[in-house]
């Protein structure tokens, strides 16, 4: 029975990593879309989201099956619980990529505007957090997981910066408020994405240590 369970766990691990890779790619495309304002690319991101959704459901079903059939304990139990939560976070990250694509698609339909907030640093940092959180999961790497948690503060600062600058711009050009709100929302989506990467890192800490470190509880 242990061999059988081990096979199932290996399968789940492969699938959650495959989902991670897929979501990483979506986020990468969304970051590209922010820069290029390519509406076709935005369409593609929106259209392909159901792949992520389908995979998420499949992984959850597999996890529930293992819980029901094997009643895992200790590290196996923590692994399944962590995967169920990480699975959810990855799906939500996929949603944030779609949200970004929708904002950019909206902005692309409006007349060009000379003011632009440079999102490249924020997008890079968010992607870096996602990559590191998944690496921490693969390698059960506690140090890396804790590092992701500290990186979240930098993304939050960049979001506050975007807020201040876009707010000032709205005051200067109230006629472009729709465009600017969409621009502001991009920062919100990137920040949420980074939050989900932080959640993944926290789940990795639970997986390795058995300690719940959410809500700054570390």
């Amino acid at each position: 029975m242990a061999v059988h369970l081990q096979k199932e766990l290996d399968k789940i691990k492969k699938r959650i990593l495959a989902l991670g890779a897929l979501v990483e790619e979506r986020v990468h495309l969304a970051a590209k879309a922010i820069e290029s304002k390519d509406s076709e690319l935005c369409e593609r991101i929106i259209r392909q989201d159901h792949d992520v959704d389908e995979m998420e459901v499949e992984i959850e079903e597999e996890c529930l099956k293992i819980l029901a059939l094997h009643q895992p304990v200790a590290i196996d139990l923590r692994f399944i619980i962590a995967v169920i939560k990480i699975n959810n976070d990855l799906e939500r990250i996929g949603d944030q990529a779609v949200n970004i694509a929708q904002r950019v698609a909206f902005m692309a339909t409006r007349r060009p505007y000379e003011f632009a907030f440079d999102y490249s640093t924020m997008a890079e940092k968010s992607q870096d957090m996602l990559r590191k959180s998944l690496d921490a999961l693969v390698n059960f790497d506690l140090d890396l997981a804790f590092k992701v948690m500290t990186l979240d503060d930098e993304v939050d600062r960049l979001k506050d910066d975007a807020y201040d600058r876009i707010k000032a711009e709205i005051q200067k050009h109230p006629d472009r408020v729709g465009y600017l709100i969409n621009m502001l929302l991009v920062s919100r989506h990137l920040e949420r994405l980074a939050d989900h990467a932080t959640n993944i890192a926290e789940e990795v800490v639970y997986l390795v240590e058995g300690e719940i470190v959410r809500h700054g509880n570390f």
Partner: protein, 267 residues
């Protein structure tokens, strides 16, 4: 008393119950073979302690040391102490029969006497010298009630106990153990011969009985240990390896060895 065990102990911050039993530096030998090595364990009132470990790890041997059942094996030898309410049960002046009425035992296979249901329960009381019929009857009823069997057998107390189902026979054996009003109840894989429904009944019973007794249970069924016990002790090769609050031991054991066993990675 301080915990002297070398085993890794997960602290139990919630436990403020009085100490009921303890073993101190317990070694046990079958001839030259040392089946238990330096086992230090404490059992608190109204707690259920589960002893787990692979076959041959000494958990049943340990359980049987606790009411001197191993005395029946001629080549066996005990070193160290087992304390019940602070007194050594292996002291020379201890009367083993009265000790066993304080520490009851339920075995793996239901073993009712080939007598009526009533006599099975009344037997121990009679051995202990109880003669008053009304009192015996009251205690038979009370024991069967406590063992959650009364409703099923109250109309056929004079039928043979061998006509009961396996699950009923096991509850009868629990009732028989309870009839002599023990303080500690030892259970050696009490559900291993039972189907899932009978098992569930016994597990529910354990939950109820711990309000009144200190319970120590040996089980091969890890899920059962997780469900019924407050404390779990893991034995391996005659040694106590890790002991701790059951919830913690099954979610994040401290030792790799414990984790490997409970996740089925060795054994």
């Amino acid at each position: 008393m301080s915990q002297t065990t070398e085993a890794v102990k997960i602290p139990d911050p919630g436990s403020e119950r009085p100490l009921k039993m303890a073993s101190e530096h317990l070694n046990f030998f079958y001839g030259d073979f040392e089946a238990l090595h330096d086992v230090n364990l404490e059992f608190y009132e109204n707690e259920v302690t589960a002893l787990i470990g692979p076959s041959g790890c000494g958990k049943s041997t340990y359980l049987r040391c606790l009411n001197r059942m191993n005395d029946l094996i001629p080549i066996s030898r005990v070193e160290g102490k087992i304390l019940l309410d602070g007194d050594d049960i292996y002291a020379p002046d201890v009367d083993v029969v009265s000790l066993r009425s304080r520490i009851g035992m339920v075995f793996q296979k239901p073993n009712p006497f080939p007598k009526t249901i009533f006599e099975n329960i009344a037997y121990g009381m009679k051995v202990n010298g109880l003669r008053k019929k009304s009192e015996i009857e009251a205690r038979v009823e009370q024991s069967l009630l406590q063992a959650a069997l009364w409703d099923e057998v109250k109309d056929r107390l004079d039928d043979t106990a061998l006509g009961l189902s396996g699950g009923q026979q096991q509850r009868l054996c629990i009732a028989r153990a309870l009839a002599v009003e023990p303080e500690v109840l030892l259970m050696d894989e009490p559900c291993s011969a039972l189907d899932p429904i009978a098992t569930q009944k016994i597990e529910e019973l354990i939950h109820q009985l711990k309000e009144l007794y200190t319970i120590i249970i040996v089980t091969h069924n890890m899920q059962q240990a997780a469900r019924v016990s407050d404390i779990t002790a893991f034995f391996y090769l005659g040694k106590l390896i890790e002991i701790g609050v059951t919830d913690t031991l099954f979610t994040r054991p401290k030792l790799k060895q414990t984790e490997d066993y409970i996740t089925g990675r060795f054994g």
